[in-house]
């Protein structure tokens, strides 16, 4: 079973609390959950909604079809009615004037007033939802007590649940799994946890939607984890601070969205030139300029891959889901330290704001390797910051620790000691040394994840956050069509891993790229790197996330043409 419920209304009406309580309650009951948020770039008013999809089986996407609408205003019903199943339900307060056979017009507000707190009307509605699904009260009290620290508020909210429960009769029969062994998390929180697990000590950032979640979570742990989270005056300061902290020897990171990343670009080159390890999260939103601040897109792919003047060693990892975000962030820190390069983690608003149930992260897999030189340098044993080596990687030490050593990092072209040079020969040797790191980096690349049937005729190619909905779409397609489908889900995108791609495209009838942008940036990258051309594209750039259902219907639509 899979159900999909929408909670909608104007900003400031308390939807976030409602969604939180419903998600958490369903999580504690052992369901798999996938929640997306659709909000406007404003603090009050407008139309915002949460879509909570829950199931007793694996789910990897949000859904478009709705089983239920909890409407805090009339606009919510009008906007989403066309997506409501014929046997679905609507829950709304009696004051909302609307006619539909599926509508439960309930005394939400007056019940809340009777309880003595008009604010608890949302939980009256949630009580009714719970009853419709024939779910008991297990887990609710725990969630309410965690959310409302004041005893009186907690009691009133619990009471609201109970009263709402009485307003309707049961509609669905659901089996509760009861195995609540998952965490409910979004990718910005997972990135933050991954960074903490990596031993992050310094994060600098300038607030920018949809990347701010990383900074918010880290800041909430600042004193407990003993890390510094510094709100910079701008993105330029943010990235230059992270580089300065990394120079001084701590693991450091910054994060932003496309517009802020544009300001950081010069310093991406600095990180590569000075060979200072750096991790940057670029959480995309539709642009250019201010664009759609609260919506999703994958339009920055080439911008990020080619960010920085000149040719530099760099790695770009696209995050596929919260679990991937945790482990890849940790890997990014290790690779940044190993190669002394900038590593950029790419996400987007869909990834940042969708909350999912995932397995507890396995901290036994966390292996932090700083790749610092173990040599004891002194005046007698000279330290050369940019020593030429076969791999291009020079020994790195922490400044200020060893008497007689000098750690000089330069943004000019420099020699092995970090001294400025104008020599063409030295330039060539140093540029070759830096770029040589890319050759070795390729040995550390991860091939894309392959999902689907072994005897496929259609192969989908996707990257980053769209991987999840594509994965679910492949399951749906293979359960119904005459064709057989598979997909390659790319995480590492620069340098582009091409071994599995070259192997899997052999003999394929149709090769389709699925991306959230207008021009098929990833298919263009693949063509540039491998000569492989996609036959057709599924693209979306209206700022709304691609769902598994939309991918399936667009593939089927394409087959009929």
């Amino acid at each position: 079973m899979i159900y999909n419920v929408l909670i909608g209304g104007a900003a400031g009406l308390g939807m976030e609390t409602m969604a939180f309580i419903l998600e958490k309650t369903l999580q504690r009951k052992g369901f798999e959950i996938f929640v997306i948020q659709d909000y406007m770039s404003r603090v009050r008013g407008g139309h915002n909604f949460f879509q909570i999809r829950f199931a007793d089986e694996e789910i990897d996407s949000h859904g478009d079809e709705l089983d239920g609408i909890i409407a805090l205003d009339k606009e919510t019903i009008q906007t989403h009615l066309n997506r409501l199943k014929t046997d679905g339900f609507i829950i709304a307060d009696e004051e909302i004037d609307f006619r539909d056979a599926r509508l439960y017009s309930l005394t939400l507000k007056s019940t809340a007033k009777t309880i003595g707190n008009p604010k608890v009307f949302g939980n009256v509605a949630l009580g009714a939802v719970l009853k419709l699904f024939n779910l008991d009260f297990t887990g609710i009290e725990e969630v309410i007590n965690e959310k409302f620290k004041a005893e009186e508020a907690a009691i009133q909210n619990m009471k609201a649940f109970g009263e709402g429960y009485k307003l309707v009769t049961g509609k669905y029969g659901i089996k509760v799994n009861g195995k609540a062994d998952r965490i409910l998390i979004n990718a910005t929180e997972a990135i933050a946890l991954g960074a903490l697990a990596s031993g992050l000590k310094f994060y600098s950032g300038y607030p920018m939607t949809p990347a701010t979640g990383i900074m918010n979570y880290l800041a909430s742990k600042m004193n407990e984890a003993e890390i510094i989270v510094e709100q910079a005056e701008d993105e330029i300061a943010a990235i230059n601070m992270a580089i300065g902290a990394s120079y001084a020897g701590v693991r450091a990171m910054t994060g932003t969205s496309g517009g802020g990343f544009a300001l950081m670009v010069e310093a991406i080159g600095l990180s590569a030139m000075q060979e200072v390890p750096l991790v940057v999260a670029e959480i995309q939103r539709p642009g250019p300029a201010t664009g759609f601040p609260t919506r999703t897109e994958q339009g920055d792919l080439k911008f990020v891959i080619f960010s920085s003047p000149a040719e530099i060693p760099k790695m770009v990892i696209a995050l596929r889901d919260p679990e991937d975000a945790f482990y890849q962030t940790q890997r990014a820190f290790n690779l940044a330290d190993k190669y002394q390069i900038p590593v950029i983690l790419m996400g987007d608003q869909f990834l940042a704001d969708s909350t999912r149930t995932v397995k507890y992260f396995d901290f036994s897999k966390v292996n932090n390797d700083r790749h610092l030189s173990q040599e004891v340098y002194s005046e007698a044993k000279e330290y050369r910051r940019y020593e030429i080596t076969d791999t291009g990687i020079s020994p790195r030490i922490i400044p200020g620790k060893l008497p007689g050593t000098r750690v000089l990092m330069e943004s000019h072209e420099h020699d092995e000691h970090g001294q400025i040079t104008e020599s063409g020969t030295v330039r060539n040797r140093m540029h070759d040394k830096r770029l040589r790191k890319m050759t070795y980096l390729k040995e550390d690349l991860q091939e894309p994840v392959f999902v689907g049937e072994e005897d496929y005729d259609t192969l989908l190619l996707t990257w980053g956050s769209v991987s999840s909905p594509v994965k679910e779409a492949i399951r749906l397609l293979n359960s119904q069509g005459k064709h057989k489908y598979s997909a390659l889900l790319f995480g590492d995108i620069w340098p582009l891993p091409d071994k599995l791609l070259k192997e899997k495209v052999k003999g394929v009838k149709r090769l389709i790229n699925v991306e959230q942008n207008a021009t098929g940036l990833f298919s263009s990258l693949i063509r540039e790197c491998t000569g492989i051309e996609c036959d057709s594209s599924i693209l979306k750039y209206d700022g709304r996330p691609l769902s598994s259902q939309e991918i399936v219907s667009r593939i089927k639509g394409g087959e009929q043409e």
Binding site: A238, N240, P399
Partner: protein, 283 residues
């Protein structure tokens, strides 16, 4: 001077450039403070002054134009045991990096900022800088600089900077003594060092500065903000040098318990058990 601690290295500066004296004074100040080269980090942006980390055997970070302060501040946060000094020019510190100047003052991190202020862009061959006087004619300002000159001293005092000083590269001993006080000061210290550019500034020469600067005497109280503001506004026939304003106040590290106490951030061991416990936030 103790040559074995801070040997002279070859520089790319013009003969007669004020940078030579600033470098000598810095070495003298570090020796007076008994700092070993490896304990010191000199950070710069880009420009002629910003080449200074190349010419001293301390640790060095030569970053991007205008961006010396953010990495310097972060390096001090990461390792409070480093003595962090920023040496950069007026274009780097007041022009391209103006925003960072404002916010580094607000952060009050314990670093010292020496601005080599020659009122001109040297490396790019002679354009007006934020401190160029009105009417200063250059190739790019053929009608003379029309913009109101930035007053870094007044700006810093207004922003609440705890150490605001001015010095002159032509008076080595005084410069050194102001540097020593600046490095000793707990918190961000700004020292604007007047310095002739022998190649591109034919107005503000050694003689021009020499005729105008005078040392603040023992009767001057740098702890009085109002008189400090008056002194900071003195520019023209007479230019005061010395510590214009000084105020002891908690610095960045003082306000964060785990930074103030215990080992530097760079030496702290992560508590993996505590961090894995954070997953319970998402239970």
């Amino acid at each position: 001077m103790n040559q074995s601690v801070f040997p002279n290295l070859e520089t790319a500066w013009c003969p007669g450039c004020g940078n030579h004296n600033i470098l000598s004074a810095l070495k003298g100040a570090l020796i007076a403070l008994d700092k070993k080269p490896y304990e010191v980090l000199v950070v710069s942006g880009i420009g002629q002054a910003a080449k200074l980390p190349q010419y001293i055997t301390t640790n060095g970070f030569c970053g991007l134009h205008g961006r010396a302060l953010p990495p310097a501040a972060a390096a001090k946060i990461a390792n409070k045991q480093l003595t962090v000094i920023v040496n950069s020019g007026d274009g780097d510190s007041y022009g391209e990096g103006g925003n960072h100047l404002i916010h580094t003052i607000r952060r009050n991190i314990d670093i010292t900022h020496f601005v080599h202020d020659n009122q001109i862009y040297g490396l790019t061959k002679g354009q007006a800088s934020p401190t160029s006087d009105i009417g200063h004619i250059t190739d790019v300002q053929p009608n003379g600089s029309n913009n109101i000159p930035l007053n870094p001293m007044l700006l810093a005092i207004a922003l609440g900077c705890g150490f605001v000083a001015r010095a002159f590269s032509g008076d080595l001993e005084h410069l050194k003594s102001v540097m020593v006080e600046g490095i000793r000061h707990k918190g961000y210290a700004l020292i604007d060092i007047l310095q002739p550019c022998v190649s591109f500034n034919k107005v503000n020469t050694y003689q021009w500065y020499g005729d105008r600067v005078y040392k603040l005497g023992g009767d001057y109280n740098p702890e009085n903000k109002l008189t400090a503001i008056e002194k900071a506004m003195e520019w023209g026939d007479k230019i005061p040098i010395g510590i214009l304003y000084r105020e002891e106040k908690p610095d960045f590290h003082d306000k964060i318990d785990f930074l103030k106490n215990g080992s530097p951030l760079v030496d702290k061991v992560i508590d993996m058990e505590k961090i894995s416990g954070f997953m319970n936030d998402f239970r």
